[in-house]
């Protein structure tokens, strides 16, 4: 008994020590908690790491839990700022107890159509009436006359088309399906736009990596992934026909051109579902930070403002390397004005 008691006491003491050491934080560091979209997580991770190197008094936690969860945590006051690919609905904004909300577009990205066509070299061009039809299951062969007509230089194989989509709810699906709904009335009525939709055909993969694995594995598969991800693992990307009728390959330039077409409204919430302009790549999206207009915790407002200011200037330079689109100058100016209203 004696020995046992001693052991238990030791154990207790040890566990208290362990708990204490976990809890201890440096008193002079300010920690900002944030969570949200997975799509911009790589660039946010880089930004926050770089920023903490320059400002050792600020530490930023970012959990990439998905836009929906990011909004929820922000509304519940669990985080200092949230992040979302689908901005935030008016209903969600109204449910925030602590004053108003500022939406800040912080970076942007393109969504590309990647495919697996053995023996086909050179980018496949997909017309505006073709790629929605592929995702509706109406065009089922790669040598369909409609695809062949747009690609006179390519010898397209007699392969069935397998559609690969995101099985998990995601901002990528949200922006991709909203684009399809904008250019195809058929897609709008049969499927519609959302974070998780019911595609009539195809197989679902979890995350960008799941869709990429599906594409890589089965010849004839086409799927949508983020540009940065496709670039990183060297998937071929289709050139898409834009509103002006031109076939445009996804590049940082064509993406930025598309973003430049948008006139941001007062609340900075705009979805670029079908950008105009000859050089615009058609599927681009902003992604937002969700901040309070007023912070009660001392120092938080200033820290967020300083962080946002850095991300909008120096941070933007990191975007192309990571596969994101730098914000156009006119957008940056507008966001900076919005940042200055945070108190």
């Amino acid at each position: 008994m004696n020995k046992l008691n001693l052991k238990m006491k030791n154990l207790l003491a040890l566990s208290i020590l362990a708990a204490l050491s976990i809890c201890s934080v440096q008193a002079d560091t300010l920690t900002l908690n944030s969570s949200g979209a997975t799509f911009p997580a790589p660039i946010y991770g880089r930004w926050f790491a770089e920023y903490s190197k320059l400002h050792s008094d600020v530490h930023i936690n970012y959990q990439s839990v998905g836009s929906g969860q990011g909004i929820k945590s922000f509304v519940d006051g669990l985080t200092d700022f949230g992040a979302s690919d689908a901005a935030m609905s008016d209903a969600d904004i109204a449910s925030v107890k602590q004053g108003g909300v500022v939406l800040l577009p912080m970076t942007a990205g393109s969504i590309v159509l990647s495919y697996n066509l053995p023996g086909v070299t050179g980018a496949v061009q997909l017309p505006r009436d073709v790629y929605p039809a592929i995702f509706l299951g109406e065009i089922t062969k790669w040598n369909d006359p409609k695809i062949a007509a747009a690609n006179p230089g390519l010898k397209l194989p007699d392969l069935p088309i397998t559609v690969a989509y995101r099985a998990d709810g995601s901002g990528t699906t949200y922006n991709f399906t909203n684009h399809l709904a904008a250019i195809s009335p058929d897609f709008k009525t049969k499927v519609g736009g959302g974070k998780l939709v019911k595609f009539p055909v195809g197989v679902g993969g979890k995350g960008n990596e799941g869709v990429a694995a599906l594409i890589k594995q089965t010849p004839g598969t086409i799927g949508y992934v983020e540009y940065g991800y496709a670039l990183q693992i060297k998937l071929p990307m289709a050139a898409l026909q834009n509103q002006a009728g031109k076939f445009v390959a996804p590049t940082p330039e064509s993406g930025s051109t598309a973003l430049g077409q948008v006139e941001l409204p007062e609340n900075l919430r705009a979805f670029v579902t079908d950008p105009a302009g000859d050089g615009s790549y058609p599927i681009v999206t902003f992604t937002w930070w969700l901040c309070h207009t007023q912070y009660t915790k001392p120092g938080v407002a200033d820290a967020i403002k300083a962080l946002a200011a850095w991300c909008l200037t120096d941070g933007q330079k990191l975007a192309p390397d990571l596969g994101y689109l730098p914000l156009p100058a006119n957008v940056v100016t507008k966001v900076q004005t919005a940042v200055s209203t945070i108190k």
Binding site: G68, T162, G169
Partner: protein, 325 residues
């Protein structure tokens, strides 16, 4: 202990000894109280989870009622939710897995209970099969993607090309689907079936086997006509328990089943299961979709609880319990 039992003439020491005995009594009482709380706490936790899930599912239950179970659309855009393709996918993938795993598992069980090999070798063999249960689900999923699917895809396409008129082979393989999912699932539930079937087979009384042999029965006769019939209920129970485990399996299935909410008779068509849909769509779900997902979890919970209860009842009757698992 030693202080309490050691004989000591000094009264002072005896007094200390009594004190220790008293303390140990208090400790015993405390310990039995703690185990009581812990065990009832577990039961309460189960009820609490069920209540909580049911409560969160309530908006969907009110909206869709029992029609939810037979609805075939899962359309978050229009807030239309029906669980039938998911229930179908869950049951079919688990049943297929069971169909593959049961013969294999029983064969393994016979092999390790008969003395074909020295006991030491059999124990190593048994250990290796049980080790399959220790492999994380996600590893099975990756293995499925990079090893199983490249094998099942050409196989599926060949069968579809030559025997496409059979409903089972009516679609070409699109990579993920029922077949690779069921195959990997079968390997995951194999240890459960093998271990429980082996313990059921061990309950065959030795005198019966020896008597049959003495009467001229071959080993083949003994296995088929004595051991297996006696163990049959236990093996059935093992299969039902494995079914319950297969139905709740999530990660490997989410990676292999194709995540398409459709009902297709084809083995090669993509499908979806309840657990996989839950894992995939919870993160971004809002409003009524959350309630619908909770309703779905409630259905899955009831299904697996029911199946596990049936399995435990069967195993209880045969004496082959899950104790050693």
């Amino acid at each position: 202990m030693q202080t309490a039992t050691a004989p000591s003439p000094a009264a002072g020491t005896r007094w200390i000894g009594n004190k220790w005995a008293q303390r140990s009594k208090i400790f015993d009482a405390f310990f039995s109280w703690a185990t009581f709380v812990a065990s009832w706490g577990t039961v309460a936790l189960l009820l609490w989870i069920a209540l909580e899930v049911g409560y969160a599912a309530f908006p969907a239950v009110r909206q869709y009622g029992l029609g939810f179970i037979i609805g075939t659309q899962w359309d978050p855009v229009n807030d239309q939710y029906g669980a039938l393709p998911l229930i179908y996918g869950t049951l079919v993938s688990s049943a297929l897995a069971l169909l593959i795993a049961t013969p294999l598992g029983v064969a393994i069980a016979i092999f390790v209970t008969e003395d074909y090999l020295p006991l030491k070798v059999r124990n190593v063999f048994k250990f290796l099969v049980e080790l399959l249960a220790a492999i994380p689900s996600v590893i099975y999923g990756l293995w499925g993607i990079y090893v199983v699917i490249p094998i099942t895809t050409p196989l599926g396409n060949w069968l579809n090309g030559h025997l496409g008129w059979i409903p089972l082979f009516s679609t070409p393989s699109s990579g993920p689907g029922f077949l690779p999912a069921a195959f990997v699932l079968a390997i995951m539930i194999l240890p459960t079936i093998a271990a429980l079937s082996a313990s059921a087979l061990k309950t065959t009384p030795m005198p019966l086997k020896e008597g049959a042999s003495a009467l001229g029965a071959t080993r083949w006769d003994v296995i088929l006509q004595i051991s297996l019939p006696i163990a049959a209920t236990g093996i059935f129970g093992a299969a039902v328990l494995a079914l319950g485990r297969a139905m709740g399996e999530t990660m490997a299935l989410a990676m292999l089943v194709g995540n398409n909410n459709q009902i297709s008779a084809s083995l090669f068509a993509p499908a979806n299961t309840i657990a996989s849909l839950l894992a995939n769509s919870f993160g971004e779900a809002t409003g009524l979709q959350v309630a619908a997902l909770m309703y779905l979890s409630f259905i899955l919970m009831m299904l697996t609880l029911g199946i596990n209860a049936v399995a435990e009842l069967i195993l209880e009757r045969t004496g082959a319990t899950t104790r050693h698992l």
